[in-house]
Amino acid sequence: MSLADQNAILPSAPAFSLAEPKDYFALLKPRVMSLVVLTALAGQLIAPGHMHPVIAFASVLSIAVGAGASGALNMWYDSDIDALMTRTRTRPVPSGRIAPGEALAFGLILSVLSVATLGVVTNWLAAGLLAFTIFFYAVIYTMWLKRRTPQNIVIGGAAGALPPVVGFAAATGHVGLESIVLFAIIFVWTPPHFWALALVKSAEYGRAGVPMMPCVKGFARTRLEILLYTIALAPIGAAPFLMGFASLYYGVAAMAGGTVMLYYAARLFAVGAGPEGNKASMQLFGVSILYLFLLFGVIVAEKAIAALL
């Protein structure tokens, strides 16, 4: 029986939550957080100068918790549409394990705590950028864009792309060109990544009233845009090597990864709709995750090894 059901039966009785710690952890969107940790760490490691390991750890933790807080705020606001989609209906709020007010309070408290900690530990530019990231994801994307325009994840992708900029600012106190390039990689990667999933889940998005690109512009147009964004992504992905702040290993990984992404995007464009199209969409979705982990994983690995040697 959900908490809402209990309250309906006993309206005057105090509600006792059955939420477990893992439910609160799920509110933080841990899989997104793992990507934020990797990209923020990459932003820190490409920055010039040295950062004490304890300060570096605390700042990455703050950025990850800030990203998690924005995830909790997103789940609070979107619980009505999350309940309508199979992918999201088991989330803590729509399933009734956590009350919406608790998710809101959890998100707000962690937002303040993460921004204040980052400001005290590093600098207030980094803290301001983290606060802007949370605001952009929770308010600009979740509350404003998501239910209004098929460009929702294009513009909203800026929130997911900001962690390396925050990490760089935490290390240096300013926003460097290197971090802007990392921002651009994630920003251009976001549309093909999300639209590949949206092609398969378009019926659910349609039922929930979310105007994703396939629902509004159609499947063919979405597949074309995925291909165009992936064509743009391949050279941008290699830019850290071409601009000289990542090694040849990174350059090879980026070019190979970009070619594989391009192959799967072209295949999706060619096969069209139907079961084969769905299969190609999910393959591109999976490959896109591996691509981003590969690029940022190589940056982190080579900078970490260089620091240890």
């Binding site: 009785a13 105090p14 006792f16 939550s17 059955l18 939420a19 477990e20 710690p21 609160y24 004490h52 304890v54 300060i55 605390a58 933790l61 530990v121």
Partner: protein
């Protein structure tokens, strides 16, 4: 004088509610403990040798 209403009896919690409350309390305790250790380490790192250099 109006008599005070009798105190409302505390509702009995089910085993599942008690278990989840204990798990939440443990998680909050561990998180606060980890934050104390983290902030202590940050303080030492940021102040460095100057940690003892203060007017008495």
């Amino acid at each position: 004088m109006k008599e005070a209403a009798p105190p409302r009896p505390a509702p009995e919690l089910t085993a599942a509610q008690l278990r989840s409350r204990r798990a939440r309390n443990t998680a909050i305790g561990l998180a606060i403990g980890a934050l104390v250790i983290l902030f202590y380490a940050i303080t030492v790192v940021k102040l460095g040798p100057g940690i003892l250099n203060r007017p008495l």
